[in-house]
């Protein structure tokens, strides 16, 4: 069977700042057969999106593209803009991440879905509407007829992604390119979307190029995997082999970094992905590779074949024992002295109840996980504990009720509770240097000479003290999150509320941070309130887990017990989504 898409030796250079054009993707080749689902994976910045956009020829202005992109018999790399317009939407459909931005906020979904069809098929408005209705039904929007005239913001994230898919499918394309369609969605919804795409491609025998950085999502559905690292392919081949035995050290590390139920310790990859300008000449993974040899450095390694899998590594893995599923579940039944107690917390926003009557307690040194779907009230709970917003009920720290405290006493008590937010860059003043950020809690406590302490804190979160003079914008996400943790530590807290501390980060960075947090807790005897929608992450960290649903705790139990024996359907489905 001839492939739907065949890319040969694609090179893309982009104009970047003052440096002129820099190659961001090179020697990229890939084939997708009809009905096949190929997953392009790699860390953020590895060039996945650039690859996807090259196929559509939607690269940013000034991009330089060489190589061949064959769709059927046509070389898209040579096609004119007019020809490309006939390809886009008609023969290739594309689905983007962040649907809130990717859909026009001021047009109804019917208009947007129908437009793709009208542009290519030239039908009447009425016919386009009928087509839109049909498509929305097909992607599983409930009561589609009633929702045709709604605007994107009136749909939930998952539904918007379905609309986006409907839009891409309007002209029944041969190929669907999906660029991280599940990122940012909560895992339950992400699994549903994934299943939807898998189903559609089977029904339509449509090829799918699925771009993602999250290996856990694609495990069940991918036919083939293609791993990109720093703009070059490192490993590609059938998915089955890949998950059983990754060949490239990078692939292995990537797999090892994904938390799974029952993992004792996550694997981490030291260092960070190099920017396109600073890529090493030889194996690009060499600086971070645990198996690196001197001859990895000079030249990019040629690809070699092992079974059906090709890998660009001089020393492909094969016989090394792949990390076994750790069976050691977190120790259960530890007991902690009581530190924080929340009694019938209620949080109300102007029109709705975000949290109603939630009570729990947290011991010294304990990590309590809070899981729940988006909008279930997790963050509201965290903010209430932190006294960041008005609430009903009581929060008591070491037996001291916050509501009776005022002024300086309250500020003092609040300082014992610290917070780490989801978006690491948002949580730092963009105009403050790292040293100032970390020194702030110290200075507010009246310490004058903070330099030494800042260096100490930076070291303790695994950063070099040289970082002290950097501005937040020059930090990577992982580094920034470490600085945020250092700041929290600077206040000498008893409890840190972690509100989705890793959900904006890559899996590899996430693994690093989770390990760091675990170590710090042990060192400083910290308690955590860990908020996340990723059950796997929580189960990796937490001693006990509370499941929130619509503002109420539906279940609260020790992690192992909860996994083994979920008492609630909702909990069960969360666990199901997290299970490999």
């Amino acid at each position: 069977m001839s492939p739907v898409l065949e890319i040969r030796n694609l090179n893309v250079a982009l104009p970047r700042g003052g440096a002129g054009k820099v190659s961001v993707l090179d020697h990229f080749s890939l084939t997708v057969a009809p009905g096949e689902m190929l997953c392009l994976v790699g860390e953020s910045g590895s060039g996945k999106t650039i690859a996807a956009l090259s196929i559509m020829r939607l690269l940013p202005p000034g991009a330089e593209l060489t190589g061949e992109i064959r769709l059927g018999g046509q070389d898209l790399a040579q096609a004119s803009e007019a020809e490309m317009r006939r390809v886009r939407g008609k023969r290739i459909g594309m689905v983007f991440q962040n649907t809130l931005a990717a859909l026009n906020p001021t047009q109804t979904v019917a208009a947007q879905v129908g437009e793709a069809w009208r542009v290519h098929e030239g039908g009447s408005a009425r016919a386009a509407r009928a087509r839109a209705l049909e498509l929305l039904g097909e992607v599983g929007i409930p009561t589609p007829a009633a929702r045709l005239d709604d605007y994107p913001h009136q749909f939930s994230g998952g539904q918007r992604q379905r609309v986006m898919i409907a839009l891409a499918l309007a002209c029944s394309p041969q190929l669907l390119i999906a660029d991280e369609p599940t990122t940012g969605l909560d895992p339950l919804v992400a699994t549903q979307i994934m299943a939807l795409i898998a189903r559609l491609r089977r029904e339509r025998n449509m090829a799918v190029l699925f771009v993602t950085h999250d290996l856990s999502v694609v495990r069940d559905h991918a036919d083939a995997i293609h791993v990109l690292y720093a703009g070059r392919s490192v490993e590609w081949g059938p998915a089955k082999n890949f998950f059983i035995q990754p060949r490239h050290p990078y692939s292995e590390a990537l797999l090892g970094a994904v938390p799974r139920l029952g993992t004792a310790r996550l694997q981490t990859i030291p260092g960070a992905l190099p920017e396109p300008e600073t890529r090493p000449p030889g194996c690009r993974f060499a600086p971070r590779c645990g198996y690196v040899q001197p001859n990895c450095w000079p030249d990019y390694p040629p690809s070699s074949c092992a079974g059906d899998t090709e890998t660009a590594c001089l020393y492909p893995l094969g016989t090394t024992t792949h990390q076994a599923e750790a069976s050691a579940a977190p120790p259960s039944g530890r007991s902690f002295p009581l530190q924080l107690e929340a009694r019938s917390l209620t949080v109300r926003y102007s029109n709705r109840l975000a949290l109603s009557d939630v009570s729990f307690s947290l011991g010294r040194g304990e990590c309590l996980g809070i899981v729940g779907a988006s909008g279930s009230g997790k963050s509201s709970l965290g903010r209430a504990i932190l006294q960041m917003q008005p609430y009903g009920g009581q929060v008591m720290l070491n037996g001291q009720d916050f509501s009776v405290l005022r002024g300086a006493a309250k500020r003092d008590a609040r300082r014992r509770l610290q917070v780490v937010f989801q978006d690491p860059r948002e949580s730092m003043n963009p105009r403050m240097r790292v040293s100032e950020v970390i020194a702030e809690p110290l200075a507010l406590q009246g310490e004058n000479d903070t330099t030494a302490r800042v260096a100490e804190l930076l070291t303790s979160v695994g950063l070099s003290p040289d970082m002290a003079t950097r501005l937040p914008a020059t930090l990577s996400g992982g580094q920034a999150q470490r600085v945020a943790i250092a700041r929290a530590l600077a206040a000498n807290p008893e409890l840190i509320v972690l509100d989705e501390p890793t959900s904006a980060l890559d899996v590899s960075t996430q693994a690093m941070l989770l390990n760091l947090l675990k170590d710090l807790a042990a060192q400083h005897g910290l308690s955590y309130l860990l908020i996340s929608h990723d059950f796997a992450v929580v189960s990796y960290m937490a001693d006990r887990i509370a499941v929130l649903k619509e503002g109420q705790i539906v279940e609260l139990a020790e992690t192992a017990k909860l996994i083994a024996n979920p008492g609630d359907d909702y909990t069960a489905s969360l666990i199901g989504a997290a299970r490999p």
């Binding site: 886009r88 983007f96 026009n104 001021t106 047009q107 793709a116 009136q154 839009l167």
Partner: protein, 317 residues
Amino acid sequence: MMGMVLRRAASSCLSVFILVTLVFFMAHLTPGGPAYSILGQKATLASVAQVNARLGLDQPLLKQYGIWWWHLAQGQLGYSYLLNRPVSALLWGYERNTLIFYSIAIFLSTVLAILLGLIQGVYFNRWQAKLIGAFQLGFYAAPPFFVAAMLVLWFSVQAGWLPASGITNLRAEHPSLGAYAAHLVLPVITVTLLTVSPLSRYFGEAVHEELGKDYVRTAQAKGVGFTRILLAHVLRNALRPLVTMLGLSFPYIFTGGVIVESVFNYPGLGWLMWRSALSQDYPVLIAIVLVIGLLTVIGNLLADIVNGLLDPRASYE
């Protein structure tokens, strides 16, 4: 959404109330007084006292203030001390002039702003956009009186094509619409030139910003042509800031501007306000301020409503 709009309108009315009150007291506390404007140099203490008694200006200020609202409640805006006409009748005469002049100017500058803004957004950072940018900057920095004077110098003094000032009273002079229009040309050009620059700048920036948004890429990925993307997708989304700015300039459509109107000797409302302020013709002055305040509120409301129609999200904010 209507609920929100109305709530905002109600709270803005409070501002109008404060505004009118403030101006009322400010006007009455300004030294001098309308009696002196009326009597001129022949004023004596006795005649001033008599005029003040006739105008009710000898009453305590608070009482005058109360009477003003009482009259307003009965639909009366008062009687101009100096022009010897009921204020409402007077306002309309000037209002008509301003309205014709400014609505043409604002209409032209909106159309121009949309055209220029589209070009600027599309050709961002290319010479076309830079040319327009230079034009905008130039007119942003040019003081209106300077622009007006230069136009007069070129088109009127040197070339003699257009009348430099005044207005044709259709009922008085040779009743020709052509002459009427000719008198409008220079003032309209001045105001258009001056307003088009901020409008098009904001709009151009909005177009550029919208063009960089993900939904444009989505539309491209659907195979939609560029023109259609521009007109069907981008235009509507980029109109919001323009509408807001038009809403802000709404009062000007009715009140005009003192400086442009006086340079062109054009009897519009802004100019009447200035003269009433100078001669302390309180009833006229306060009526105009009231009108301005209400128009500000209405302008904001209209902008909200139009934006609500343009952007369905607005109603959820």
